[in-house]
Amino acid sequence: MAIAATTGVKATKPVAAPPAPRNQTSFGRLSRRPETGALAGTVLVFVIFTILGGSNFISIGGVASWLNVAAELAIIALPVGLLMIAGELDLSVGSVVAASSMTMAIVSGTYGAPMIVGIIAALAVGAAAGFINGLIVSRTNVPSFVVTLGMNFGLAGITLGLSRLITGTTNVPLDPGPFFKGLFGSLIGGQFEVAIFWALGVALVIAWLLQMTPFGNWVFAIGGDKESARATGIPVTRVKISLFMMSALGAALVGIIQTCLYNGAQTSTGQSFVFNSIIAAVIGGVLLTGGYGSVPGVILGTLTFAIVSQGIYTTSLSSDWASFILGALLLAAVLMNNTFRKLALSSGVRAPKIKKA
């Protein structure tokens, strides 16, 4: 497309005599940001659990317990959130965690290859799973919900079958050695997982991609309207495949972290991430329909999730109630997201004409 700068455009007299822009209050501006609702949610649960849990909740051990959960979740939920902004879901992250974790343990544990080889193999498993997800979704137009659900079951089966075939067990030990233990699986001060730093790194990369690069603009556009995005010349297939690979690589990284942390791998790990990552993204203000969301929002969503699911143990409440609270929060978040989106779209003087809600 040729880019021709147009100069000297004479302004026509505005016929519709537009009313002067309403002075936007800082509240109005704030209410249009995707993470505002998420911040309210995080503050709310933090206050509630500080009151209920007291010193147990805000002690170093208490903080570490939910920060560790949030960190591992964020490494997956951030790229999953990015994918959701582009209008797709990834339900295969659970099996990718298990598959990459088992791959690493078998390659470096059972076969005794150097740790780095096991790590590369684990990442390769993640990249391959994501690539296949993205390719099938782009080529067939089958909803990603079904494609990645199929991948989650299929990959779980392969992981279980191959593990039993190769090792005769579903539980493979691995001694990561001091360097890799320190890099992926150590506890800082005996309490805080090093995964917290990995999560921060992932957050910085995803935030940069989404907010600062043309790629991020393509993600928003594809989630907003795939056909219009394609018409503007965006390589939609390539973008989608890279997004699916990112979420699977996030899952593989968590697989590596858990293998180093627990000195081994199990075929049954990881499945909780499938829904938890989506819950965190939605509580974090990502629209299920795509086109809207932010990195700070998803981080707040993972914090909210972790505070509720871990904070419950610091209170006198039975932990049975954590799921109930999360379910209610999820529902509230979806309703709030819709309200915030309406607010965001009503910055004008007139009611906007939106094709579909």
Partner: protein, 263 residues
């Protein structure tokens, strides 16, 4: 006479044996507005899809500036300077004005891995181009597109097409969803594009809007070119009758007369 910018020669399109469009010959010159009129289902959308690269015609040829072209994708069409703006602007309601304006052609600054989307420039240019089309209410490129009115969104899409050097602008029912004032603003923008030497294909079923800005007119009925004429050669009544199919209107008038008698 100069070569027309766009020329269709006996273009037809059939789906599974039925003709959606048959034997269409048309041309548009630079700096002229061709109004494509027709009732729903007359074949207007099929024709637009052929021009914007979504469909390839089954028969006939399309020429751009005298050279025959085949569009295999919307990308081919835009590479030939054809930009299509749909009724709802084809824009992204949840994106900011600046982001939406530059989708797919984002300006960047910086170097290597630090090369980044230059949002300040994007916002500045998009607001400036909108101002150029008389949209003065949008003074911040960070505003969401969804917060704009229908006419403003149309203007944004047209501004975008013009800025990126479109030679032929296809406007698909740009005024259909708009109020009277907003529609007249969009018509004004069409005249502005025309003055810049852009060829415009204005698809509408509003005869009044068409007659306000059109230089040439083509009426489609059941996938065929029922009539084509230049400005001033037909009256409004003649065009309306033709579009609706004269009989249908006559019947309606008779029915109304009957009701009035009964009342």
């Amino acid at each position: 006479m100069t070569e027309p910018l766009l020329k269709l020669d006996h273009v037809g399109k059939s789906y599974a044996g039925t003709d959606a469009l048959a034997d269409i010959s048309l041309q548009v010159e630079a700096g002229k507005v061709l109004c494509l009129l027709g009732d729903n289902g007359a074949g207007k959308s099929t024709l637009i899809k052929i021009l914007s690269g979504y469909h390839t015609p089954t028969t006939g040829t399309v020429e751009i500036e005298g050279k025959p072209v085949v569009f295999n994708s919307p990308r081919d069409a835009s590479a030939n300077g054809i930009a299509t703006v749909h009724q709802y602007g084809g824009t992204f309601p949840l994106m900011t004005v600046g982001r939406s304006f530059f989708v797919g052609v984002e300006p960047t600054k910086g170097w290597g891995p630090f090369k980044r989307f230059d949002k300040a420039t994007a916002n500045e240019i998009s607001v400036r181009e909108l101002k150029g089309l008389g949209i003065t209410r949008i003074n911040d490129g960070n505003r969401l597109v969804g917060g704009m009115s229908g006419g403003e969104r149309q203007s944004l899409a047209i501004a975008r097409a013009v800025y990126f050097g479109a030679k032929l602008l296809i406007l698909d029912e740009p005024t259909a969803a708009l109020g009277v004032k907003e529609a007249s603003h969009v018509l004004r923008i069409i005249m502005q594009a025309r003055r810049k030497g852009i060829a415009v294909v204005f698809v509408t079923h509003n005869v009044l809007h068409a007659m306000t800005v059109g230089d040439n007119f083509a009426v489609l009925i059941h996938g065929r070119l029922a009539d084509s004429f230049a400005k001033g050669e037909r009256t409004r009544e003649q065009i309306t009758d033709l579009m609706a199919g004269g009989e249908a209107m006559a019947e309606l008038e008779a029915e109304i007369a009957q009701y009035e008698l009964e009342a």
